[in-house]
């Protein structure tokens, strides 16, 4: 398809839908309604939205959907650490009922007992999986959960009169950028630890970093390299000894389910991305859920309300004294909580452990095969990877000039996603793959073959890779305008203005 921008479909007089109107008898009683708008507040000119018949609107968006490569459509192991796994279709069907879609979040508890029970049961399951003592589902992404945890760190220290003195949070360079960013949003100074030469977080560096100013320590484990820090308990002990709070980014939890938990590693808090580990869909980038769990001493800081069971009845408990209040409106993304609950119930304890095992098996199989591809490597310690690996094309780039960004575009010709890595590129020419448990050996082999093909091509005909994509729905963008305020066009109206000027 070569779809125009929606505004180009505008034909005066067409209508996509007729909204509900007022009965004549009602209108007779109150007039046209807008008469009561104060003059200064009456819109004088209609918004310049396009006018388009329903069939054309539908056709347009259906075509755009076909130009979007959802994980349903490809071997989706190339979106880095995003844990793209199979989205069970039954779960998507279960949420499409007015018994969920038409619930108002302020309904009386008595009228939403089923929904509250689902929250509560999911809470119980998460507690068992993590070892934590209470969960809140309000955070609507991992980033928001990290913000909530940073907020709890602050509330905790304030409750102990150390709110002002403890102003540093320690993280690592191979953790997600949001760990640092959200702590900074909460006013913390960030100390970023770099790994040792094997890629492990460096205990000695941590020991040097902690101080009476340490508010908290946040880390993923395994980090985005796929390397699990076996001395994590020593890390949390060091931080605790310094009076800091340890919180755990479990975005990479998929390879750990039923194997090891936040509690035993010494964390005070953790969160799971339900849209990653628990197979809720990513929906082009949200809405999502960061399920936030805390150990008992931190329960009172949780954002509210949280669901509790009292005398066989599910109730919403409001914010406790000292709680951080709220981080998101209402109760979070209920439909994604339901999806996660359904997924847990589809797998049971054995199935969850199989998830962890097969995810790690798949990752190590992939790792093994990719290291055989010419020009590819995986820096740091050999082996011992769990759920993902950060690879490098440094050799390939050195030898052929083809970069990891070139390969991104070329992989698209194979109908496959491929992602480099978060900035900064500590690993040169990086790419990050996380196969999860969802893909079969044949699927992985297909992906590997595409990489092999491109590696061969880079060595034999590098231009073919550099000029990709060749087989996409669109051709290569001219991106020169994107960083120039005079040229960038963030909306159609801005485009029309700037096109006219130039």
């Amino acid at each position: 398809w070569d779809e125009p921008v929606i505004f180009e479909l505008h034909r005066p007089g067409e209508r996509g839908v007729i909204p509900p109107g007022s009965e004549e008898s009602l209108a007779a009683e109150v007039g046209d309604g807008t008469g009561r708008i104060p003059d200064s507040m009456r819109r004088s000119e209609l918004p310049k939205l396009p006018e388009i018949g329903q069939a054309k609107v539908l056709r347009h968006y259906l075509r755009l959907s076909q130009e979007t490569l959802g994980s349903d459509l490809n071997v989706e192991i190339g979106q880095g650490t995003c844990t793209m796994k199979y989205i069970p279709r039954i779960n998507e069907m279960l949420i499409r009922t007015p018994h969920l879609t038409e619930l108002h979040p302020l309904q009386d508890e008595e009228s939403v007992q089923g929904m509250l029970e689902i929250f509560h049961r999911t809470d119980l399951a998460m507690r068992e999986i993590s070892g934590m003592d209470a969960f809140s589902f309000q955070s609507s992404s991992g980033t928001q959960a990290l913000l909530a945890m940073a907020s709890i760190v602050r509330a905790y220290h304030e409750s102990r009169g150390e709110g002002d003195t403890r102003d540093e949070i320690i993280t690592t360079i191979f953790s997600h950028p949001s760990q640092a960013a959200t702590a900074a949003v909460k006013g913390y100074k960030i100390i970023t630890l770099h790994p040792d030469e094997d890629g492990f977080p460096d205990l000695e560096k941590l020991k040097k970093a902690v101080s009476p100013r340490t508010a908290g320590f946040v880390v993923a484990n395994p980090e985005d390299t796929g390397i699990y820090n076996p001395r994590i308990r020593e890390f949390t002990d060091v931080v605790h000894a310094a009076g800091g709070v340890c919180y755990y980014d479990q975005a990479n939890a998929n390879g750990l389910l039923g194997i090891t938990r936040a509690k035993e590693a010494g964390f005070d808090m953790c969160f799971f991305n339900l849209h990653k580990t628990f197979a809720a869909p990513h929906m082009c980038g949200g809405p999502a859920t960061g399920a936030l769990g805390v150990a008992e001493p931190f329960k009172r800081f949780l954002p509210g309300p949280v669901v509790d069971l009292e005398n066989g009845r599910y109730v919403l408990k409001g914010q406790e004294d000292g709680s951080i209040g709220k981080v998101r409106s209402f109760h979070g993304v209920a439909q994604t909580v339901l999806r996660a609950y359904a997924w847990i119930m589809s797998l049971g304890p054995d199935g969850l452990r199989d998830v962890a095992r097969i995810a790690v098996l798949n990752n190590n199989y992939l790792y093994h095969k990719i290291l055989k591809i010419r020009g590819a490597s995986a820096p740091y310690i050999r082996g011992r990877r769990l759920e993902q690996v950060r690879y490098s094309w440094k050799q390939l780039t050195d030898e052929t000039g083809v970069t990891t960004e070139d390969i991104t575009r070329r992989m698209c010709d194979f109908g496959l996603h491929y992602w480099t890595s978060h900035h900064p590129y500590i690993v040169p020419q990086p790419f990050t793959l996380e196969p999860t448990e969802s893909y079969s050996k044949e699927d992985l082999d297909e992906y590997i073959r595409a990489l092999e093909h491109i590696s061969n091509e880079a060595y034999s005909n590098p231009e073919a890779v550099k000029t990709a994509p060749h087989n996409s729905t669109v051709h290569r963008n001219d991106e020169s305008s994107l960083d120039d305020p005079k040229q960038w066009c963030i909306t159609w109206r801005a485009y029309l203005k700037k096109a006219q000027e130039n």
Binding site: P19, L26, L100
Partner: protein, 466 residues
Amino acid sequence: MTRTRTFAHPYIPNTVPEVQAEMLKEIGLDSVDQLHDAIPESLKLNRDMKLPPAMTEHELRRHIDALLAKNKHGGAYLNFLGAGCWQHFVPAVCDEINQRSEFVTAYAGEPYEDHGRFQALFEYQSLIAELVDMDVVNVPTFDWAQAASTAIRMAGRITGRRTALLPKSADPDKIMIIRNYCTPVMELRLVEIDSATGRIDLDDLRAKLDADTAAVYFENPGYLGIIEDQGSAISALAHEAGAVSIVGVDPISLGVLQPPGGYGADIVCGDLQPLGMHMNYGGGQAGFIATRDEETYVMEYPSRLFGIVPTEVEGEYGFGDVAYERTSFALREKGKESVGTQTALWGITAGVYLSLMGPYGMQELGGTIMQKSQYAAKKLAAIPGVGLRFPGTAFFKEFVVDFNGTGLKVAEINRRLAEAGIFGGKDLSGGFPEWGQCALYCVTEIHSKADLDRLAEAIAKIVAKP
């Protein structure tokens, strides 16, 4: 559960024993237990998790359906709850598009394989831009509260100041979220409202504006449904003090209400939920932020901003990230706040909604909502003992009903309404105790005259003196 699994789980193909064995051999291991050798024994759980056994798909469906069947919902009950999440008409095409497998399961692909996602989000930005009459709109954020929080933080960075002023009539929950997000970097102060009209007390605003004021934030319509018609004055006061004027809007009002740029807003924010999202127990919320196309503002957005660009082929459009280097993706803690997964699917849906409605649809809809909510207010106010808290003030969609004259508590009235199949308005006695027994009623285009008459009759019956 009824069976031990001897085959692969449908979601985990490589649980097939032969395949596992083959792959283990390939990587040089003997057993799946060795896969987790990197984890020390001391940290291993080494027991089965205490979770219910797995259900088959059919068992799961019965289990979940039975749980959900316990819920009473706004399709079967008459619902007058609003207060930040509103029951509006959702065109079927919106559901069709946001249930498309491609959009449901896509994430963060590149402009080439996800061309459709980039275009749909660019179009969303462009459509909201027309509605709010601004040239820049972001890829959606979590919800209105987050959008307001970020707008305030943007203002703080732009002005280099630390306080923000908000009206006392704002949603207490929203204030809680903003406060948590801004603390300790910025501080919130509340401005009084006129107790008779519900509008902002300009004298108090003047008094509180000072050299550390980064922003004045207010809403239109406000949390209590009130149309704040002093917008130009408020923005002028803010600007005089060197502060940024931020206006939160319910976008469904903008077919009939003036867009905030018209009364001086520098940043506009709000919630997309009314534009095609089901309530989903609060899971339909999504925030947006809009500004003029000025580098000062654009460079302070934490969110992704998709821009349109030419491609190698004449006349073809491509899409990409504008000023990516702003973001925490690029700069970690040095980026603007933080960015991650937000609410992209609701952005796409809001775009579909606006494409369907068009300018006249939005205008008619605004008029209908005003007619119906005015009708309802009139009917309720006619009930002995029941009145409006702000009878002289224009409102949109929501209005505060004063039950103090009935001698009954709102909680009691709502309990009895529930028995009649009606969800009454939100009880304000907790958030605004100074007003006694008041409730916030929400009336939209989905309510028929018969629905509103039924509500009035039910309340009349409940409050009637015996």
